[in-house]
């Protein structure tokens, strides 16, 4: 178990280091000089040079990489070129929107998908299964921003249950804040839930053909108990894998969804920072997202070992 854990941890750290190099390199290669962008087109070459020195843009590449990663480790992400405030403050503020959004969406998609998958698998080929899987197929096919617009139209414009966009801030109270995150979370969650439901169904159907399911039935357990106690846990490995992968898609999805709903989240921050060549913000946010995805996948790896005892005893 310890060996498995250490190995997974080492892989996660190595991935993170590699990712930081790639992020740094890509942004170095991209054209566009942040100093020139900050000073405007009329600035003289001397002024630009001075600012470049101030920003540390003229230092040698390896030094700048180490300086940047060292800063990341001590949570000092540098100052934003455009906002002239520490990046960490920007990120912290935006994270308060994006993190709850992603978590609610992840929870929603799991809560919807697993019961639907269980239902479909236990009635394979019957009407209920066909309807559920038809809906899932639709959910996979429909883009989430279009779905978001439909949600706004129905729940905000028509029924007036929730705001159509914007975020009042957590200072306005938990409920109003949650209410404004509800539609975006649903829009993010449903396509993911559709995929997850299909995976859950097929994993369960495979497991239900296993011999040990028959053993469990021969013990006298009713079908439902067999499904929940024996089949579900064995079907969890592929489901967890997809869940881990989906987290990355959820983060990417927030960029679009936050723009549709005018939410001041990380997604919008990174979108704006890219258009304004605010390299330091882009680097920091991308690294943060990368770290989040790696952390989630590490969690998934560890949960494999919790679910499957065979992984614990194997090297």
């Amino acid at each position: 178990m310890t060996a498995y854990l250490l190995k997974r941890l080492a892989i996660a750290v190595a991935t993170l280091v590699l990712a930081s190099m790639v992020v740094f390199a890509v942004l170095e290669i991209l054209p566009g000089d942040p100093a020139r962008l900050m000073l405007g087109m009329n600035a003289s070459a001397d002024q630009v040079e001075l600012l470049r020195n101030q920003l540390g843009l003229n230092a040698p590449l390896p030094w700048r990489y180490l300086h940047w990663t060292g800063g990341l480790l001590s949570l000092d992400f540098g100052r934003s070129y455009t906002y002239s405030v520490p990046v960490i403050d920007l990120v912290r503020e935006r994270l308060a929107v994006s993190l709850p959004l992603a978590l609610i969406a992840l929870a929603l998609s799991t809560v919807i998908a697993i019961p639907v998958g269980l239902y479909s698998a236990s009635r394979r080929g019957r009407a209920g299964d066909t309807v559920a899987m038809g809906a899932a197929q639709l959910g996979v096919a429909v883009p989430n921003f279009w779905f978001a617009l439909m949600l706004i139209y129905v729940f905000a414009v028509w029924l007036r249950l929730v705001p159509a966009g914007g975020f009042p801030g957590w200072s306005a109270g938990v409920w109003p804040a949650l209410k404004s995150l509800l539609l975006p979370a649903v829009a993010l969650a449903l396509p993911q839930a559709a995929i997850l439901a299909r995976v859950t169904r097929s994993a369960l159907i495979e497991v239900l053909n296993e011999d040990y399911i028959r053993t469990a039935r021969a013990k006298g357990l009713p079908y439902r108990a067999v499904l929940w106690r024996h089949a579900l846990r064995n079907a969890m490995i592929p489901v967890l894998t997809i869940l881990g992968l989906q987290f990355a898609f959820l983060l990417a999805g927030t960029i679009i969804i936050e723009n549709v709903f005018y939410l001041p989240g990380l997604g919008r921050l990174v979108f704006q920072a890219i258009t304004q060549r605010d390299l330091i913000v882009v680097e920091s946010v991308v690294m943060l997202l990368v770290a989040a995805v790696i952390a989630v996948n590490l969690l998934v790896d560890l949960s494999y070992a919790v679910v499957d005892p065979r992984l614990r005893s194997r090297q």
Partner: protein
Amino acid sequence: MSLLDIENLSLTIGDTQILTGMELSVAPGEVMGLVGESGSGKSMTALTVMQLLPHAARATGRVSFDGIDILAATEDQMCALRGDDIGMVFQEPMTALNPVKTIGEQVAEGIRWHTRASRAEAEERARKMLDRVGLPSAKFPLSRYPHELSGGQRQRVVIAIACALKPKLLIADEPTTALDVVLQAQILDLLRDLVAESRMGLLLISHDLAVVTEMADRITILRRGEVMEAGDTARTLSEQLHPYTRQLAQASMHVPARTRPHGVGSGQPLLQVEGVTRDYHGRRTSLFKRAPAIRAVDDVSLSMAPGQSVALVGRSGCGKSTLARMILALDRPSSGTIRFRGETITGKSEAELKPARRDMQVVFQDPYGSFDPRQKVEKLVAEPLHVLDKKPTRAERREMVAHALHEVGLDQRDMDKYPHEFSGGQRQRLSIARAIITRPKLVVADEPVSALDVSIRAQILDLFAELNQKLGIAYLFITHDLTVARAITDEVLVMHDGKIVERGKTNEVLDHPQSEAAKALVTAAPDLHRAITRRMQEQG
């Protein structure tokens, strides 16, 4: 009064008729043996009693258990019976347990469900039951997972699950078919004791007449869903009144006619194995430590003459398959050398091995798993031809495949079919055709008949004997089944814990085994003659 009464049971699944007018009864404390070849409807009979049939199945007739009409019972009533009054043990112990739950949980689960006992009480009863089936708490705590147990140990857990609540009826569907003979004898003893202890009725399903004869008081012989004969075991099998009963009994004792194969013992040995050892890395116990290496094959030497037929027998896990893999150059020995036709094959590259590969082929146990289902027979049987120096043309290839099919008793038109169009026995013929197409000097056969029904097994053994004579092929039969060894080999090697512990003429070794390992195998091996004689003596 009978515990289980099946009267005029007919069963269809979709459009297929599985059982027709089936009759069977089991009394308390009685062992009823249900015998038949694969597809005869044995397992479906068991699943009908359990009401665990596939959705498309329709049963008519009468099945009554302890006064309850099973066919009319609701699912709730069945759930109350299953695991409580009727227990069931399945064929494949490796997959019958849930891999993510401990054995304690799995045994206790049924107890808790039926008796509403607390977790602690149920675990205590589970503990007692595991002790009873021979898994003592010191070595097998409740917290063990199935993957930490061997096949025989897992089957004990399955039996513990089935018998935890002292059922009135136990259905055991081929409970020992996947186990080696020594384990088989242990499991059968256990079942016998459990029956005697609590006057439990046992419905023992098997394709193995010898096993059933040793165990059953009465026997029912099933063929294509119909009962051929039923009655007292000793009488039914000694008189063999029904032609099908006779056919089954003869097939299970069949010995192919073999004249002395030509050229045995003359000239240069075909295969020489000298001091071969194979170590496997121990499991990593932490980042820097490994458990000591496992020695699968330990300093084995043997020699085979051209055209000779040799059996390599031993219990599962004794290293016989590892040795075979090294002889086939599919695995490298840790030390020692293997010479084939005088040339060393250990440590050679794939290109250098080509001539040797041409002259040695293999037949595996499972005729279902060893073919790609999406390829036609022509391509499958022609597979080994890539080791020929000159690539045959398409016409030549078809010619060779047709010839090989003819030699194994199949039609040359079969080459355009797919594997699923053949029965199990025909598929094993295909594996043999594939093995002989390059005209090899040596065929290694790993349990080649243990997945086959007795009558088909007899035919395949005949085929092996015939090819041995006609083509002068030498065989190395790897098996735990002594009947096969006796039927078709001249010499036998007994392997135990990686070592060859005894060798000699097959009949001498099997009749007068010297080593402990050989004695254990011989005593445990079911033997129809012996079983019938013993039954007759018991009944006077």
